[in-house]
């Protein structure tokens, strides 16, 4: 069984077929999100979908920096001399 810190249940009442949620994770905490989906069918059926929450969950890859981002102050380290 899953030990949990987050449990939420949605019970649909008016035959919704679509549901949309916004979830905020805490950066650094990783784990999985298990979503049990029960459809209104006879016989009843459920499916469990698992999503991974990665350790740096709020980070994304960037391919290009915008001019504003490029204009931000940055640290620079300069080496000089005979590097061997």
């Amino acid at each position: 069984m899953l030990s949990g810190k987050f449990v939420a249940v949605f019970r649909c009442q008016s035959k919704e077929r679509r549901i949309s949620l916004t979830l905020r994770t805490n950066e650094g905490e990783h784990g999985s999100l298990y979503v049990t989906i029960v459809a209104e069918s006879t016989p009843k059926a459920a499916k469990i979908v698992k999503y991974d929450l990665k350790p740096l969950s709020l980070h994304t890859k960037l391919h290009e920096l915008s001019p504003a981002e490029l204009a931000r102050p940055r640290n620079k380290m300069r080496y000089s001399g005979n590097l061997q």
Binding site: L2, K5, A8, R11, T25
Partner: protein, 143 residues
């Protein structure tokens, strides 16, 4: 001329609709009949369990939050979210569905068994309504 065309099209569509309804009724009858036999019931169960899910889970970088959308071809009865990680539910667009969130101090989900994703898990939920939902869910999984 145009109106006659439209009328024809309307007639055609209505005809199609009644045909589809008939087909639906036929399939339903088939399912009911086949559910009588034990093995047949099992077969329909596995077939029913195979409903297609269209779901997306992605990070919206503008609001730094994940968006989960679930779409089924048949109506949704219940959606249960569980995670060992602390999550904030910021927003939900689920029509008139009833939401119940279990506060962490009420979750007694620890168990000697390791994590398992399928089958006989029990969820302890605080409010009475949610409890009945959980029971319903539990019963259903034990079929």
């Amino acid at each position: 001329m145009q109106t006659i065309n439209n009328e024809n099209r309307l007639k055609h569509m209505n005809q199609e609709l009644t045909d589809l309804k008939k087909r639906l009724d036929k399939e339903r009858d088939k399912l009911k009949k086949s559910a009588v036999g034990e093995t047949a019931a099992r077969a329909t169960q596995s077939a029913a369990a195979d409903f297609p899910i269209n779901s997306k889970f992605y990070l919206d970088t503008k609001i730094a939050a994940y968006i989960l959308t679930i779409e089924l071809q048949i109506p949704i009865d219940l959606i249960i979210l569980r995670s060992p990680v602390v999550l904030d539910l910021l927003e939900s667009d689920a029509g008139s569905s009833v939401l119940s969130i279990t506060p962490p101090y009420l979750q007694q989900l620890s168990s000697p068994n390791s994590e398992d994703t399928q089958g006989d898990s029990v969820v302890h939920i605080d409010s009475a309504a949610a409890l009945s939902i959980g029971r319903q869910w539990f019963d259903m999984l034990q079929l």
